[in-house]
Every structure is written in C-alpha cells, then in structure tokens.
C-alpha cells in the first residue's frame, strides 16, 4: 500500500508529489499518458515567476525532471474510480487496483466544446483546441479563433505567425485576456477582432475529404447572420474538469469542491489544480494547490497511524 496516490501528472500533481516525497511519504503519480497538463499545449508561458518566457512543454519537462530527481515515482495508467474502505483508499486503474492511505485528485481539465453544429464532425478536420499542435497545417490560410481569454489571444498570436489571416471571434464587447496580450493582438496586422459575435455553426465539405470551409456568425446586437470563409477553427471557451471517475462533492460543472486545505467531501481525498472549484485556473494556482494538498494529506496520514 502506498502512503499517497496522486492522480494526474500536471503541475498540481507534480507539485504535490515533490512536497509529498519530502515529507517522507511513499508516493506515486498516476498519469494517463506521458504528456500531462494543459500547460503542455501552451506556446509560451510568461506569467510564472522565475521564467519570463518558456514554452509550456519545456516547463512541464522541467517539472517532470525535478519530480523524478526528488524521488517521485510515476506510472502510466488511467484511474477509473476511487473508493474508500475504512481508512484505506482503493484506486481502480486500467492496470488493476492500487491502495493508499490518501489520494490527491489532480486530473486537470479538457477544453470545453463550443457546442455548435459542425464542431464535433470537423474535429481534426479543421476544428482544433490546440494551436501549437495543429497550427502549422494552416500556413498561409485563414483561421478563426473563438474566445476572449488568455488562451484564445495567446494562440491567436501564435497562429498569426503561420496563417495569412486570423479572426478572433468573441461574444462580448471586449476581450478578457491580460492587457499585454490584447495590446500585442491589436498591434498584429493579420489579427482582426470580431466582437459581440456568436459562432452559430462550423461548416465545410462532407463528401470525400472532410474539411472546414466556413463559420456562420451572428452579430449579438443586430442579429445579422453572416458567413466567414475559414480553413481552421481554434476553440478556447473554457474547460471541463476530468472528474467523472470520482464520487465527491462537485459544483454544477463538475469541478470538485474543497476547503482551503484542498480537502474534498471524502476524508483522505484531496483535489488540486484545474479539476478544483477555484477562482483562477492558472499554472501558479495549480502549483499552490498541489503543495497545500500534499501538506494536508501528510497531516492526515500522520493522524491515522
């Protein structure tokens, strides 16, 4: 039996792992695959202290190296459920059951879908949620970025270096992204803001090779409908937590509710990072959550000895 199982190897899980091994806990991180964390998909991270500018993947590699050198063990396996038997926690995985005294859920989140006709049909056929993964396919083409937050604007800036034209479509009358990003977008000649506008449909060719050809937009104020020719659509409209496998108290969107010690409604089960109901889903907050959860888990394990 492990002292602590951490489910998820993104920034929250890694931070929790480093803290846990330093407390002397026999700890293992379960990762669904070897590239964890939404941050791996970030072209550039500029708001994490100590790293003025670093790619998400490079930062994640640094985390993993740090964890490995600190003595954190990892296993590639998918957690299917978590249950308590007395003070023992049992994590069922696709490689069998694992036991621990405490569990930290740090499974993060996935990009939320826009939920419009054509989106699902054209995923990987022009609809994407990751510009650094798929952006280079749109060299000298026209793309639409949907959203107004940091991710949308950061990836619009990345795409502006590849695509001929980037339309940044947002439903509100202003962007939510950090001012520095908004200023960069405004200064980029091939990014055009399309505000107060909803994406109603993503359309394209269905016979033969499927591909996106246009988006149908609606102006929120005038209700006018128009078509915008586009080869790719990159969607950044929020996140969905990966929490379906665990039965603890969650909010209406599935984010796990915790107190300030990252304790969930189930004793000995903690949550950290983007899977948690938190005011900001940011790298720096995920790392903080991981440290707190590991500290709380250590106290808990000490008390049940």
């Amino acid at each position: 039996m492990y002292d602590l199982i951490i489910i998820g190897g993104g920034p929250a899980g890694i931070a929790a792992g480093i803290y846990a091994v330093r407390f002397g806990l026999d700890t293992i991180i379960l990762e669904r695959n070897e590239i964890s964390g939404q941050i791996s998909m970030a072209d550039v991270v500029e708001n994490y202290p100590g790293f003025p500018s670093i790619s998400g993947l490079e930062l994640m590699e640094k985390y993993r190296t740090h964890a490995r050198e600190a003595g954190v063990k990892t296993m590639i396996t998918e957690a299917l459920s978590v249950r308590s038997e007395g003070t023992k926690k049992i994590v069922s995985t696709d490689s069998g059951d694992l036991e621990a005294k405490a569990v930290i859920i740090a499974t993060g989140a996935n990009p939320k879908h826009l939920g419009v006709p054509g989106e699902k049909e054209f995923i990987s056929k022009g609809v994407s949620y990751c510009a650094i993964c798929d952006g280079p396919f749109f060299k000298n083409k026209t793309v639409v970025v949907v959203g107004g937050g940091n991710s949308a604007v950061t990836d619009a800036l990345f795409l502006s270096k590849v695509a001929q034209k980037v339309y940044l479509v947002h439903r509100r009358d202003h962007l939510r992204a950090a001012k520095i990003l908004q200023d960069r977008a405004a200064a980029t000649s091939n990014i055009e803001l399309v505000l107060n506008t909803l994406v109603m449909e993503i359309a394209g060719s269905r016979g033969g090779v499927k591909k996106v050809e246009k988006v149908i937009l609606q102006d929120i104020n005038s209700k006018e409908i128009r078509e915008l020719p586009a080869n790719g659509v990159f969607i950044y409209v929020g996140i969905n937590p990966n929490t379906g496998f665990v039965n603890v108290e969650k909010d209406e969107e599935g984010f796990i509710r915790t107190n300030r010690w990252m304790e969930t409604s189930e004793k000995g089960i903690y949550a950290a990072g983007d899977c948690r109901d938190t005011p900001i889903w940011q790298l720096v907050a995920a790392v903080r959550d991981g440290a707190i959860a590991a500290t709380a888990a250590y106290e808990y394990i000490e008390n049940i000895k």
Partner: protein, 82 residues
Amino acid sequence: MVKVTLIHASWCTFCPAARRFWKDLKSEYDFEYEEIDVESPEGQALADKHGIVSVPTTLIDGEPVFTGLPKKADAITHITQK
C-alpha cells in the same frame, strides 16, 4: 497482420510520446509499424488523401483511427482485431 502508420511532424508536441507509445506496444504485440513525417512527400500525400490537419494521427490499415495519443486499451483493440 494489422499495419499501424504514425503520421508525425518535427514541430508536434505530442509526437515523441506517440512514437514511444507505439514502439512500446510493438514490443508486446505483433503488428506492422511505420512512421511517416507529414512534411515528407509521402506524408503530404497521405495528409491530402485523408484531410489530415492534426498530428500525431495514426492510421490503422491505411485509415485514420486515432488523433493525438490513443488510450492503450483502444490501441490494443485495434491491433488485435484480425
């Protein structure tokens, strides 16, 4: 025998992990395996034929089946289907 073709790219974040994934699986299961750079003429031809605009993409017996990193259980199901 099932043939697995991994379409990858030099700039692709998840491709190194996908290559390791399929190579590890090949050490456990018997299937044909090849890797094709999407920027090579052969890769470009496959991308055009199947409308591939996302990597890594895995073809099973010539048809696109997985985009991104597959789940191991799903991959095993496909390579043991014959």
